[in-house]
Symmetry: C2
DNA sequence: CCCCCTCAGTGAATCGATTCCAAGACAGGC
DNA sequence: GCCTGTCTTGGAATCGATTCACTGAGGGGG
């Protein structure tokens, strides 16, 4: 036997019409039990399974979700995909994945390609500005969308992490330890995680009545190399910072590498806080104080939002969920070495877990 | 406008038949240039894009690849997916992803679901035994398959890493340093990476004329918790090993945690080699000697194999690619503390890079 | 005995494309 | 003027399912 059995084969072998077979497949009530049994037997005998393509063409439902992110090998997106697809698979959905590498041309190309496949809905994260062109691409999807970790506007369902609150808590903590020159490393300021981290950082300074030295805020990309490069420069400059906030999980390796290479001791010479908890943060010496977020929750919440929309019982208004972060204190922070600025020392943060109220 | 334009809409607006529009879409040669121009204008005017579902139903080609692995959030599979999908996307293919969690029931369920979608081909990694039931599920895919990191038999196209050679090199290196009690931690022995690691470990012992203490070979799972648990037990037992080989990238965090917790110094009290290079291995103190493999190559080679098969110029015989590993020496290994066994010390390995000739 | 209603099941239309066969237009050769 | 061949185009069949309108059979009530 060279090809898969079709509904026609089943109909012929069972001596019924294709309509009847279809009704058996979809467990339609008006089928005689005897007929149903006979058809079912033929179906298992032929290893029949209805062609999803044909079903989708007819019913306009594919039970497939498009998942589009900048880089699927980044543990962040990998974890989000894992938890999202687990929830979606459980409801019989399949997931089609595409990486855009954060490049505009690939984003457009992927959206166009995947739109033709008639996904039922989309989980996505775009890195380039939402201009008219992209707006049109999204409209062409003709399907509900949940945006993850980005702010694309009020009209989109959104699930984000409170990176602003995390950054605020980390900065406040460092200020409380006496730091006055705190560097913040993060990605392009156009991306929400970067933008709100800068915001939180500024707010912490403001509330403490401290000025912000803009040269200490370095924006680039979520790559270890960027973390390495900027940390190297920062640590070797004359007026070097006494603390560094790595605003991105992937930046920590670069920061540590740079500090190691220059023989700068953590936390004696420079304090470090990283955003995103990892094995590295936990197991390096000293263990690194981190702002912990929960990527798996992002995926899960996004998937549940989609499922709610697809099931129909949804008010239709775009939803927005902000997931909390917490500051986990470890051993990578200490008061700055003797270079204490004027003014009395500020109180430290009293609880290990500092749920952010920011945003 | 409520729905996407179809080929019929275009035909009506351009005043031609659907056949002609289709010929324009597929750049068939026998179309009058003037007609082609007119139809093309209507197409861009309507934002027309052919429905991939309908095309696939008719042509029996979906330009979609199924990607099935145990856990998509594991960096190993995430990197493989990234490199594979990059190569496939470049050729106009989309990728449908599913995680099986290594569970038989999910494997079967996912295979059945995805088979109905008529993928053009599959990249997959199964964790449960290839019995008749699974064999049938695979046959039902009616599409070429490339198996990654598993041995499912000669009839399958296969891409694997030479984990056996890596384990052999690591073990030989440790034996050369004078170790006589070397523990090997790895996953279920039914999985190829575990099986060949044990093989390599044994061969290194054999060649050195050393017996293997089976109680030092611990098989469980590729989880940090397993690494932690087994290392804790091993280090606290009376006749504890002087070296540990972590046979799996994910095991290292567990091994390090256990050693830290018990205050066992690396490499003074126990030497450690890990399989799989990571930021953690590079940045923890001491930096960990590793067997480096290249997951990205696995994905790339697997994707290229598929593309070759799909393009038709393929001899039809199942192919098999084995990717090399290399041993990267760092600071986590030293001769065992004074407990030297009888016999003279063996020579160390002379080159930093020890390409494995094993297998 | 007839009518009506219900229950099963048939067959055709449909989803949106591709592709093959046939036919019309037109030119050129005889 | 007719025949043939080339170049375009139209139209129908097809892929594999769903679904709706309709047909018959059989039962119950009047």
């Amino acid at each position: 036997m060279r090809h898969k059995a079709t509904i026609k084969d089943v109909a012929r072998m069972a001596g019924v019409s294709v309509g009847t077979v279809s009704r058996v497949v979809n467990s339609h009530p008006t089928v005689d039990p005897a007929t149903r049994l006979r058809v079912t037997e033929v179906m298992v005998g032929l290893d029949f399974a209805p062609d999803a393509l044909a079903q989708s063409l007819r019913t306009q439902v594919t039970r497939t979700i498009g998942f589009i992110v900048p880089d699927i090998s980044n543990p962040l997106w990998a974890h989000i995909l894992r938890s999202a697809s687990e929830a979606l698979q459980a409801q019989g959905y399949s997931v089609m994945v595409a990486s855009t590498n954060g490049e505009r041309s690939i984003e457009l190309e992927v959206l166009a390609r995947i739109a033709r496949r008639r996904m039922d809905a989309f989980l996505l994260t775009l890195d380039t500005p939402l201009d008219a062109e992209l707006q049109r691409s999204l409209a062409q999807l003709f399907a509900p969308v949940v945006v993850m970790e980005r702010d694309l506007g009020d009209q989109w369902n959104t699930v984000v992490t409170d990176h602003g609150g995390g950054s605020y808590a980390a900065t406040r903590y460092l200020i409380g330890l006496g730091h006055r020159r705190i560097a913040l490393l993060t990605a392009q300021p156009a991306l929400r995680p970067s933008a709100v981290r800068i915001q939180g950082y500024r707010q912490a300074h403001e509330e403490a009545g401290l000025p912000v030295d803009d040269s200490l805020v370095r924006c680039g990309a979520f790559w270890p190399e960027f973390g390495f490069h900027e940390t190297s420069r920062l640590l070797s400059q004359e007026d070097s910072p006494t603390a560094v906030v790595a605003g991105g999980t992937q930046l920590l390796p670069g920061v540590l590498r740079a500090a190691n290479l220059q023989g700068v001791a953590i936390p004696q010479q420079v304090s470090v806080v990283s955003c995103g908890d990892t094995d590295l943060a936990q197991l390096t010496r000293p263990a690194v104080t981190v702002v912990r977020s929960t990527p798996a929750s992002v995926g899960l919440v996004a998937a549940k939002t989609l499922l709610r929309i697809l099931s129909g019982d949804d008010d239709g208004k775009p939803s927005r969920v902000v997931l909390p972060t917490e500051l986990i204190l470890r051993d990578s922070c200490a008061p700055p070495a003797r270079r204490l600025a004027a003014g009395r020392p500020r109180p430290g943060i009293d609880s290990l877990t500092c749920r952010a109220k920011f945003e």
